[in-house]
Amino acid sequence: MKTKRLAELSMLTAAALIMFIVELQLPDLSAIQGVKLGLANIFTVYAVYRFTPKETFLLVLTRILLGSIFAGKIMAMIYSLAGGMLCLLGMLLLKKVIPINYMWLCSIFGAIFHNTGQIAAAIAITRSFAVVANYPILLVTGCIAGAFTGLCAQFVVQRLTNTTLKKEKDE
């Protein structure tokens, strides 16, 4: 069981990393730093509902560390870490209130927390509140992106439960 779980987690991390790298190759959606789909978040949302907090934490941490190294943007790692960790913390807490069939809602909050973390990190680094100006537009795009990635994760879970149920019936 433990090995199976480890393999599953590693595969999810690898898949999240691939998504992250693929997204890097897409042209920037906007000049505002931080406006992006966050496709790797699909795996975070999925993991939040499928694995224990500790396992999810390890998945997200590994993805951010390796992702920053692969992307060659070590400076961006601080933003990713601040955003990713706050997002994870928020989603883990909200999971208690929001059931699995409202995953997309949890993901929207994840995006909100992610943007909040990034802006907080940017304030700390630039020592200026000027970056706050980007916050509202980040929240608007973040909510849309969060709903999208959340729905993706929702579909994955639905498909998985359908196939698992079918298999159990067939047996």
């Binding site: 400076m75 929001i98 809602l105 200026s128 970056v131 509202p136 929240l139």
Partner: protein
């Protein structure tokens, strides 16, 4: 739909609308023509864009303490933008011309911020 979900949904919708409204407010066109350039929280330059020659392009080079640089261009129609930077992401260059009071041009790697500011007439 449980009560918890309903509350969360209401909160999400409220945040979304509040963010959309403030984003529209922030992107309104600037009234002031004074511009401030700061690096790492310290004011480097503060000037009135209206005093610059309309047709002449002027450039300011700002060296960052960590070795990088940004070139600020004050161009036609008294506009200001960052035309060149040696950072990898070039977000500041892509931001383009400074348009509204609420949205500054920011170069995060070099901690450089260009924004509209109030005219210092009160201080004079």
């Amino acid at each position: 739909m449980t009560k918890g979900v309903k509350i969360c949904l209401a909160v999400a919708v409220t945040i979304f609308i509040a963010a959309a409204v403030s984003a529209l407010w922030l992107y309104r066109p600037a009234e002031s023509t004074w511009v401030e350039i700061t690096q790492d929280g310290k004011v480097l330059y503060k000037f009135d864009l209206a005093t610059f020659d309309d047709e002449q392009v002027q450039r300011i080079r700002i060296d960052s303490p960590d070795g990088g640089y940004n070139i600020i261009e004050i161009g036609e129609g008294n506009t200001i933008r960052i035309s060149e930077a040696d950072c990898p992401d070039k977000t500041c260059v892509k931001t383009g011309v400074l348009r509204s009071e609420g949205v500054p041009i920011v170069c995060l790697p070099h901690k450089l911020v260009i924004k509209y500011t109030d005219s210092p007439e009160v201080e004079k």
